[in-house]
Each structure stands twice: as C-alpha cells, then as structure tokens.
Amino acid sequence: MATTPLLSTAAPGRGKPRKRRRPGRRAEQWSAFGFAGPSVVGLGLFTLFPVAMAVVMSLFHWPMLGEPSFLGLDNFKYLFGEDPDFGVALRNTFIFTGLYVPLNVLVALGLAFWINNSRFAQLWRVLFFIPAITPMVANAVIWKLLLQPDGTFAYYLDSLFGISAPNFLADGRTALLSVVAMSVWQGFGYNLIVFSAAINEMPSNLLEAAQLDGATGLRKFWSVQLPLISPAMFFATTMTLITSMQVFTQPYILTAGGPGNATETLVMNVYQAGFQSRDLGLAASGAWILFAIILLITAVQFLGQKKWVHYEH
C-alpha cells in the first residue's frame, strides 16, 4: 500500500497485453454499471447536483421560506461590502489559521522526533492521538469548563505565576487564542502520527553517511532529516490548512462566536446566514468564497512545494 502512489489516476495496468477476445464484453459492461451504479447515483445526487445548485443559489435571494428572486452578484457584493460580520469572520479565520497551522505542525514535529527515540513510541502516538478521535463537541465542552473565570486554568495561572487571569472566553483579547489553544491540543496528534511514520522511514544509510560527514545536531536536522520528511510535511500542512479554514465546532461550542463577533469564523458565518438569518443564497455565496480561498491556498502550496519538498530518497 505504502508504495502505490495514492494520487495516480492512470488506468490500472493489467500487466499482460490482451490479445484474445474475451467473450461477454457486453455482459461485463452491464455488470460494471451494476457495481458502479450506487456510487455514481449517490455522488450525482448528493454531490454533483448540490454543487450545481449551490452555484445557482449564490446568485439568488433565496429565503428559507418563500420565492427565490434573482440577484446576480449582489450576495457577494453584500458580503464584501455591507455585511458587518463577514469581513470580521474572514479575518478571524485567517488569524486562526495563521496561528493554528504553524503551532500544530511545530508541536507535532517536535514530539514526533522526541517519541521516535523511545521504545514506547507506539504508546505515545496513541496517547497523543486520543483527542483527535474523540468527539470535538466533548473536547470543546471540557475546555470550556477549564477556561471558566473560576476554573482550573485561571487558578493555576494565578497561583503558579501570580497572573490574574482574564475571563478567557469572554475577553476579546484572549477568546480567539483560547480557541486556537484548544484546537492545537485536539488536533496535533494526527500530524504527529504522519511525521512519526515519515521519521521511521528515513533511510538509515543516508543518516549514517551524514554522520560520517560530521553532520550532527541542528545541522543534521536541517540539512538531512527535515528534507527527508518534507513530503510528509507538505501533506500535513496542506491538509491542516484546509481543515483549519473550515473551523466551526470549537468556536461554536466555546464562545458561540463571541464576545461580539471576536471568534466568529467563516463557516459560522455561513451557518448563521443560512440557518439563523434563513438567507440560503447568502450562505451559498459565503461557502463559495470559502471554497475559493481553500483552492487558492492549496494551489499556492502545490506551486511552492518545488522550493522545499524533496521527493527522492
């Protein structure tokens, strides 16, 4: 599995040239329809059709109840111009991503190198992965309690460091940071496993060669180990960037977007526009903007990878 390139779209090779005409070609066509049928119909109905609908809806004033009316690009103009929340949501999402992704990757990378020296590496991997697999809502409510004004974090900040804690979740200066902290705690275990696997697969002859050449410590890390795991870093940062732009549950549970709109994110904005203000057209427009940003970030990642990702061993 590990050696098959996962993103190859080439037709599966059969290994043997086909000369004989096999009977039942037509029958094979029909059974293929039978096998692929459910997925094709399902994807068509539940993905392709909604995508097309989303394009149409973004061009309409589309109330949850009542008749839609054509607007052209007015939804987008409204979001970027008059909407008091959308710009803030955009900014918050970028700040969240700008903090969350580097912190997540750094913590995961540091711990991955650390635990890979340990005999109990598998135990540590599983331990740090726990909150990545447990329900996000549960993780968030636990942190919500810890972050209360008279909660545990505030107490230890005061008793250990003598800092009188702000009301983490209700203070505009700390609310978004709290959401970031909780998210990093929850999510880095996933990248830890990705990095840890990549470190395990570093070819030992290269590491030894570097050692013989006198590369140690930081030098070995920067010039040998980091390039060797750069494909994993690329995969991890790209995936983490994408999911981080879609952050919803953590701020929804921790702060409900508050105080004010200090922690409102793009997906929260889409949710509120569609299902609280009941303006489905506006929600669809917001979702397209999110998609466009994700595509842009991914494209930049892919274009930039030549500079730092090394694929050959």
Binding site: L6, P38, S39, G42, A54, A197
Partner: protein, 289 residues
Amino acid sequence: MSTDAPTPPVRKASPARRLKRTVSHVLLAAVALLFLYPLIFAVATALKPPGETFASPPSLIGSDVRWQNFADVFTYVPFHRYILNGLFVAGAGTLVVLAASAMSAYAFSSLRWKGRDSLFLVFLATLMVPQEVLVVPMFLLMRELGWVDSYASLIFPWAFTAFGTFLLRQFFRAVPYELHEAARIDGAGPVRIFLRIMLPIAKPALGVLAVFTFINFWNSFLWPLIMINDVSERGTVPLGMQLFFGQNGNQWHLVMAAAVVSVLPTLLLLIALQKHLVKGIATAGLGGR
C-alpha cells in the same frame, strides 16, 4: 535526537546514555500527563458532587465519588436515545459507505467498460469540494425529499464519498491479473469474483475504512445541527450534549459525565485497533482533520 551513534542497535548502553534516556522518558511522561489532564479532569469532575465543580484549589477528588452523576445524565435528558440514534446512524452509514465504495472500487479497478477512466476523474474531483458548499443545497434537497428530522438525512448525504472508492481501488489494483483469469476460467462471474476474491483480500482496508467512517458519523456535528430540530427524538450524542447548557444553569458535572460517555466508544475503538488506525493514517491519509 543528536545522540544516536552511527553503530546500529546498541545492546548495552553506557550509564550516561541510560540516564539520558530515563530522563527523556520521565519528561515525556510528564508532558503526556499534562496533555491528558483535560480528559482526566473531565472524568474527575463527572464523579464529583454537583457543588464541587469549582472547588478552590482545584482538586481531582471530591468529597464523594458520585457514580450517580452518570445515571443522572440519562434522566436529565434522554441520553440513551442519543446514544442509540448515534450508534444506528453511524452503523448504517458505515455499512452503506463500505458497500457502495467496495462495489464501485471493483468496477473501477477490475472491470472494463466505456467511460471508466473519465468517470473516475469526476469522482476524484468531488474530493475537493468542502462540506460547507454542499450543506446549503443539501438542506433544500432533504426538505424536497421530506427527510428533515429523519435518520435518512443523517445517513445518506455523506455515504457516497469518492474517498472510499479511491482507497479500495488502490487495494483491488494490487490483485494479480492471473487470479482474475483463473477464477474466470473456473466459470466465476464478476459477482462471484467480487465476493470470493476481492472482498477477502481487501479486508484490512475495509476494516480501517469502517472504523474511520464510523467515528466520523459518530462525531459529526454541523450537519445534524442543521437537519435535526427534534433533538429528543432524532438527536445524536454531540447534539444532545448541548442540552445540558442553559435552562437550569450549566450542569457542569452532568456535561462532563455526558462528555465521558460520548468519548468512550471512540476511545475503545482506538485502544482495540490502534495498530491498524495508526497505519491507516500514516499510509492512506485516513481520518484527515
């Protein structure tokens, strides 16, 4: 990390190295303990009497170990209902995902038909579309189908993912051509080959896909939040957990007990299948968050 010598596995480490390794382990254990503190804290709070949630200084042990809190979770709201709903939705959803993706993966890997490769490209393209773009029109679709507040609305919209097809296709492709041909000569049709040869071979991949799919359904929050108004009848666990906030002030000890209960199934799956899950993430990018 700068300490590994060029010589492979050292049997007897020098005392200095052994000390270093021990220190590293002790530090690592401390970090892990700190990391797990929120979960330990949740279990501890779930077992404390109601008034002691905000005891100062914070203590993990209350004046009494109150198992009653866990029972109260089920009388305060119909939490058993959320658990059953969640298990049903996640179980049924996983079955649909496995069946649909295994079948189409077989069609895309082992059968020859017109339009196969271009259709597969369309499948791959759908992987890029984020859930948020689909959610709004999907809501309208569900309303048209009369599926608001139904299990079907929680199960089917996300049960036909190109990802499963893609993953299993990789597995099926590895099956040697000779095996197909031998089965065919023995008179086996595509259905027989699929059931008798392909599915057994793909068992490990099917298993890992099943676990991650189940967990995704179990944890899912945004979509149920949109689709389910009648939480007491059709709510899943993440939706139900919200009900402990509000009305009578926050019932923190109950919230924590509910959180612990909701964490348990995923934690048990992780412990039981850790090797496979870790491998699935490392080699196939499963469970991506």
